[in-house]
């Protein structure tokens, strides 16, 4: 878009201006409400403060039911990177923390803190003023503490916006006072009545960001506001680099991207943010709130709201406490007229229907609009798209609304994305010009919500996949470790007897036996084994001790089975050999030896054990049979062990 720079039609402005594509000249209807001076709404008996009044994570309540709170006391702490704090708008008692309907397009309920006001409106202890030239970090922290969010309607936490990422530098600060949506006049009233507060905030932001230029943009349909700001700029001190720019009235010039286009001729990249261009936009009401927070230590607990529409009793602007129920405000504005067709929260173009008058107003609510039937006649049923292209001409984002409509209606989200669905700012221009009265923006909102839900699901699926893979990998690793441990234990077990047999085996040069050796040889081998320093004997030239063991092993194997029964050879079982390491085994060996000696002594005296006397012939035969079997077994075992050890 190479549109030529336009000069402001009202005054010869030194600054060249650009135009954006499309846009609409709508009847502004601002005079309905902008004439009455700004008033402060009285204290309501009950305040309903939603914990989420901003884009991002809801605040975490810091108070409990029954707590007494002072005006301006922190009652909800921000949690997460993008979040904002919540403060008590007036003094009173916390009566409940529960779900209440909140101003949201869904009409759903969300957690709120309910405060019964005590009528004293007594301030809690507030932080001190930061002075005229605050430290940047202190100012950012104060803005975060004060829970300041963008007051233009989107309610994005200002502290997050002002935390410029490293490597990026903001050169241009734009103060958005365009207020382009019809009917709304809260910024107009603020500029007229409190230009000093706005400029104080602009000064703080200018110093905080160290910008080169600072532009306050106001549409030319607000001459009183322009005059008031001009006067304040002329009167005020320390306002270098702050410039008032009057821009032509054209909806939606107050849109961030459109305003940047008008003032600088630059386009914000698709799905990008202005900071990429070195530009930062803030609403003028946000600037005033920042001034209040920095200079007076006041958190964001009130805002100006336009109550207007031809079905509103007395259209006007009111400064109201956040959390005031809508029905209380309507009573202050003369109530709803008989011709009411629809009550909107927000403006006629981007607002949404309010279906519960008990809803509170939040930081992001700038207007309550009671439309009569004449203002918003029923458009009748939507008709077929005739492909007239009027929407494409009106689109301020240079999109093709028709194509988006077809794809959104067919739920073809990929195609809708390909047509830059997410560059749509939902301004509603296309729907206004549509001759078929198709609710185009609703289709885009639907498609956007579906896309975001799909993205979220995809992210969750990816996350689940990673966790599943992590779990599988962990289980495999544990199984591996378990097996490795088991192997190690087995090896250690095998090592012990192997080293026990190590000495005789090495001496004999026989292959290692995998199984535990049979019983008769155990007593002998184990005696040689127990010294842990001996496994070196496996190396091939046995040390003397090992040689002795070999000799014993041979002797052992040579013992005839018949004798082995009566005189168990436990030559190695002397305490000197075995003892220290294995006292138990030594004791057993000693006991066996004693028994053998006793038996031998008895045999020498010609005495046999008495338990074989006086037996019946049948018993004797049984004993003999058993003895024969035992001898057979012992012979076998002796043959096996000698065969294994000395092949």
């Amino acid at each position: 878009m190479a549109s030529p720079p336009l000069a402001s039609p009202r005054r010869p402005a030194p600054r060249p201006l650009w135009t954006f594509h499309g846009g609409l000249h709508l009847p502004d209807e601002k005079a309905l409400s902008s004439g009455a001076p700004l008033a402060t709404a009285p204290l309501p008996p009950l305040l309903v403060i939603p914990l989420q009044q901003h884009i991002g994570a809801p605040a975490k309540p810091l108070v409990g039911v029954g707590d007494l709170v002072g005006k301006g006391q922190l009652i909800g702490e921000a949690q997460g990177a993008v979040s904002a704090t919540v403060h008590a708008p007036s003094s009173g008692t916390v009566v409940a923390i529960e779900e209440r309907p909140v101003p949201h397009a869904s009409g759903l309920s969300a957690p709120c803190i309910l405060i019964a006001t005590d009528g004293r409106d007594a301030w809690a202890d507030l932080p001190p003023s930061l002075g005229p030239r605050p430290d940047p970090e202190a100012l950012r922290e104060r803005i975060r503490w004060a829970g300041i969010v963008g007051l233009g309607g989107a309610a994005f936490p200002s502290s997050v916006k002002l935390r410029v990422p490293a490597g990026q530098r903001i050169r241009t600060l734009i103060l958005n006072g365009a207020e382009c949506e019809p009917y709304i006049s809260c910024d107009d009233r603020l500029m007229r009545d409190r230009p000093g507060r706005i400029l104080a905030g602009v000064r703080l932001l200018r110093d905080l960001l160290q910008v080169e230029e600072c532009l306050i943009a106001v549409e030319d349909n607000k001459p009183e506001a322009i005059a008031a700001l001009r006067q304040a700029l002329a009167d005020g001190a320390d306002l270098e680099g702050i410039e008032l720019v009057v821009i032509p009235t054209l909806y939606p010039s107050g849109g961030e991207k459109q305003l940047i286009r008008i003032l600088t001729g630059q386009e914000v990249p698709s799905r990008g943010i202005p900071a990429q261009l070195g530009i930062l936009c803030q609403n003028i009401a946000t600037a005033a709130a920042i001034a209040d927070a920095a200079e007076e230590g006041k958190p964001l607990i009130s805002r100006i709201i336009t109550l207007t529409g031809r079905a509103m009793g007395q259209p006007r602007n009111l400064e109201v406490l956040v959390g005031t129920p809508i029905q209380d405000l309507l009573a202050l504005a003369g109530g709803l007229g008989p011709g009411l067709r629809q009550l909107l929260i927000g403006g006629p173009m981007m607002g949404f229907a309010c279906d519960d008058l008990a809803m509170p107003v939040t930081k992001g609510v700038n207007c309550l609009l009671a439309l009569s039937a004449t203002e918003a006649p029923d458009p009748g049923p939507a008709l077929a798209c005739i492909r007239c292209g009027a929407c494409a001409e009106a689109c301020p984002a240079s999109l093709l609304p028709q194509q988006l409509y077809w794809h959104a209606r067919a739920r073809d989200l990929d195609q809708a994305r390909a047509y830059h669905l997410f560059d749509c700012i939902e301004c509603g221009c296309c729907a206004v010009v549509c001759p078929s009265h198709i609710p185009l923006v609703q289709y885009y909102r639907f498609a956007k919500a579906e896309c975001l839900a799909q993205e979220r699901e995809k992210r969750q699926a990816e996350h689940a996949r990673q966790r599943h893979e992590a779990k599988t990998a962990r289980l495999e690793r544990l199984e591996e470790e378990r097996k490795a441990n088991l192997r190690k234990k087995k090896e250690a077990l095998a090592e012990k007897p192997a080293s026990a047999r190590g000495a005789p085996l090495a001496g004999a040069g026989s292959p290692p036996a995998p199984k535990a050796p049979p019983a008769p040889t155990e007593s002998t081998t184990s005696t040689a084994s127990t010294s842990p320093t001996e496994p070196t004997a496996l190396a091939g030239h046995p040390p003397p001790a090992a040689a002795g063991a070999v000799a014993r092993g041979e002797a052992d194997a040579a013992v005839p089975p018949a004798v082995a029964g009566t005189t168990p050879t436990v030559p190695g079982a002397t305490p000197a050999d075995s003892g220290a390491e294995d006292p138990k085994r030594a004791a057993i060996a000693a006991a066996l030896q004693r028994a053998a000696e006793k038996k031998a002594a008895l045999a020498r005296q010609g005495q046999a054990p008495k338990n074989t006397q006086d037996l019946t012939p049948a018993q004797r035969r049984q004993v003999e049979a058993a003895e024969a079997r035992r001898r057979e077994l012992q012979a076998e075992e002796a043959a096996a062990s000698s065969g294994r050890e000395q092949p």
Binding site: Q52, S106, L108, P381, A384, I438, P439, Q442, R467, K471
Partner: protein, 199 residues
């Protein structure tokens, strides 16, 4: 002769090129299985008859499994798979109606701390130790219901996810402008068309 030689040389050159490319650009694993896996909801619930999303994806890639077995994925997944694989979308297998998304919640009064559900959870979304109260980490639960069966005291319940302001979605406008659909579907009606043109 020259022609034969030229063709032979060309064949050799291209053969070498292809051989080199086959080694240099060799694809590890089956890319189609990974693409299929990316479309699956990763609940690892096993309702398809395979022990997880990846095995099912591999089975589809091999042509062993039909594409309509993924119950949590629903019709959307079947359509996405059909598109990816160039097959006809089929209706979801079985009478299993698409259930609203739910997450598991452990009843603290009944949990005996047996750790069976912890072992069953494919995404480690259950926290606890033996003889200690277990709890489901809501943000990690995929709603696969695999923990329901092993629980000896049936203390795990599937609670549908409530719609709140954070996950609410704008509805399809047809609900708002209901008469539009039949009208746009019959643009051939000349009387209606002319009637609208005069509006």
């Amino acid at each position: 002769m020259i022609a034969i030689l030229a063709i032979a040389i060309l064949a050799a050159v291209f053969g070498l090129l292809l051989g080199y490319a086959a080694i240099r650009f060799r694809v590890e694993g089956n890319p189609i299985a990974e693409q299929i896996d990316a479309l699956l909801p990763q609940t690892q619930c096993g309702q398809c008859g395979y022990p997880g999303c990846k095995p099912y994806a591999e089975a589809i890639a091999k042509g062993e499994a039909p594409i309509n077995k993924c119950v949590p994925g629903g019709a959307t997944t079947v359509i996405a798979l059909a598109e990816l694989l160039g097959r006809e979308p089929e209706p979801l297998d079985g009478a299993a109606a698409e259930k609203p998304k739910a997450i598991a919640v452990i009843d603290p009064q009944e949990c005996i701390g047996c750790t069976l559900c912890i072992q069953a959870c494919p995404v480690d979304a259950i926290m606890g130790a033996a003889k200690q109260l277990h709890a489901v980490i809501a943000s990690e639960c995929t709603g696969c219901e695999l923990c329901l069966k092993p629980c000896p005291v049936e203390c795990i319940h599937m609670i549908p996810i409530q719609t709140d302001t954070s996950n609410w979605k704008w509805p399809f406008p047809a609900a708002v402008a209901a008469p539009e659909v039949p009208q746009t579907q019959t643009p051939a009606d000349p009387a209606a068309a002319s009637g609208r043109a005069t509006v």
